[in-house]
Symmetry: C2
Subunit: 420 residues, 2 copies
Amino acid sequence: MENASKYEALTVETLASRLGGIATILNRLGGDASDWKVNEVGDGNLNLVFIVSGASGAVIVKQALPYVRLVGDSWPLPLYRAFYEHHALKRQEAYDPGSVPEIYHFDETQALIVMEHFSPHAILRNKLIAGERVSGLGRRLGEFCARTAFRGSELRMASADKKADVALFAGNVEIPAITEAVVFRDPYFNADMNHHTPGLDPVVATLRGDVAMKAEVQHLFRAFSAKAETLCHGDLHSGSAMCTADDTRVIDPEFAFYGPMGFDIGMLIANYLMAYFSQPAHRTVSDLDGYQEWILSVVEETWTTFKSEFAALWSSERTGMLYDRRIFEDQGHGADGPLNALLAEIWSDALGYCGIEMHRRTLSIAHNADFETIEDVAARARLEARNMMMGRRLLLERGEIDGAANLLAMARRFNGEDCT
Amino acid sequence: MENASKYEALTVETLASRLGGIATILNRLGGDASDWKVNEVGDGNLNLVFIVSGASGAVIVKQALPYVRLVGDSWPLPLYRAFYEHHALKRQEAYDPGSVPEIYHFDETQALIVMEHFSPHAILRNKLIAGERVSGLGRRLGEFCARTAFRGSELRMASADKKADVALFAGNVEIPAITEAVVFRDPYFNADMNHHTPGLDPVVATLRGDVAMKAEVQHLFRAFSAKAETLCHGDLHSGSAMCTADDTRVIDPEFAFYGPMGFDIGMLIANYLMAYFSQPAHRTVSDLDGYQEWILSVVEETWTTFKSEFAALWSSERTGMLYDRRIFEDQGHGADGPLNALLAEIWSDALGYCGIEMHRRTLSIAHNADFETIEDVAARARLEARNMMMGRRLLLERGEIDGAANLLAMARRFNGEDCT
């Protein structure tokens, strides 16, 4: 799927000359390629990302690097992830039109995607740190999670198509391997690349000493590795959403894999909750309660929307082989029972993945800015401790937390506790 | 994977001339191919099977037909199933040496496998109908299920190897599609090819009217379609085991697929239980109790062996990415907790698949000889009703049946009940 010998990483200097001959890009940007403005904006862990602006517009150019950018060339990483990102974007666009960037150009050899530039959107995580509200955020991401989960599964897809797609994405080995290592394994032992805030040793010891909790993590890891229900985004944190005050889009599905229907929404809720727990370090007292409660309202809206959208698709688009209408509706039997059981399973899985994501972002290699930008180390430890201990509670009680209201109540309790 | 234009079905008359030039076969059978004795013995639903005997030995020649033999050419079926059977046999041999026929020759274009002839083995189902005991049966098949489940999963396999194998077997679409239709769907509505014994209408109505039970069936169907934990045999009924008085081998894995670790053993237990429930029509009163109890002892031995063998492999061969030793043993924590939870999940899944198999063999297209050979229709209905109603109980209570002893007690209760 790649020709490594011809691959060459773009630079700000070479980009215009290398892409200036591609008509679809030229038409969109206008003018002469030599007049393009090229800014390298990649702040993620893996890739080169450029905003390229011309007289009549702008595009994003994203190019995979042959190693993990965060670590360097000691951690090689195949270029084929651009191939999978491209395939994932196409499917997400089909499942939830308008949710993800339009692709203008894809070059497999150069591991390069030229795509829609969302403007004036900003990364959701930065908005949450800055205390900005996004109208419709929970609704939009709840819809995205529900539509991709449902429409990418055999609730809707023909089984032959889904099997072919599972085979395609099974070729993506090294990218999920990052998740396998840094999400499901490293937080729970003393792995080389781990780091955590000073003062958290007792919390870390509590987590690593909890065999029942670690068993839950590994059961969820087994489901991650084998429960190939739908095409997951695979990395749906608040750095993978771009928003204005009232518009939300999703980017960066290079970790896409066939996995559990609760995976994406669980990881997303974890990132909401980490924003929530980090707020005392980012807000003045007068703003704090209101903004934290707004974040919790987004959690609730995300899950409420997921449920209602999933239920609507269950009624209108259940054309796959599972839960066949001839077994339920055609015999005068409602299919609400199995729907509700499935939603309960998705919720329980989601809360488990939520807890794990809360752990790995404070224990493993890749922390997130919500906490990392807190310079007062003691304050950071205090807030991270709440997050880590609630993650544990979620893992242990995920089957018994009935609905979003109970999840919110749990978050409020931990938000007032000394967990260090 | 096939070249249909060159494919030609073998006949008793043409087999020797077509295969007589293949050295590995000639060496094994000895003599001149024109002296070979060729018997067509296929009694399954799908393929041609020949026993070919020569001066110094015998082999099995199995050739796929381009349609479902049971139905005829109105139900086409791809020849590539021989390709998957061949791959499944190789893996089963690696995971449990000696358990399956050795392959002497594989011809992909002719969809043909020449393999070891087990002699004087007979199909287990026929022995169970005849009231014959097989020493070590439960132990052997329990080992087979445990070894293939464990060694084909990411408890042991490298994740990259497992992903590649999932992709390979995902190419097998039409064969699992048979299971999808006739096992998980057709029994639960009035499908065209269904048939059931006269007198069972009320039982069928009870099953189809039980929405909670049908929901369980569909949850298990979802797991069948997506819980790609290990390479399952896919059709491990008592027609897929060949035995002498003290030796047991497994054949016919053309339905192989990546699925739940509890699938094979659940289907196998269902076939033991169908043998059990059918016995009153096959035994004299003086033999009946003893033989039925022997079958139940096989059920118990199968599950007990599965558990102990799986636990032994968990200790000695847990080299995959799941339940990493660095998270458990290396921190001084036993991994018995997650092992027992996993075994409980496998058992619950197995009992669910067991219940479904008990239904489809009395309701869907392909019944089995245990019941079908009972000529007294009223007696057959009475015995099948017990089997069907216990299948329902298993589906509804599969999470609460603690161990084989409780399963056996349930079977004994149904064996004394009037369920029509």
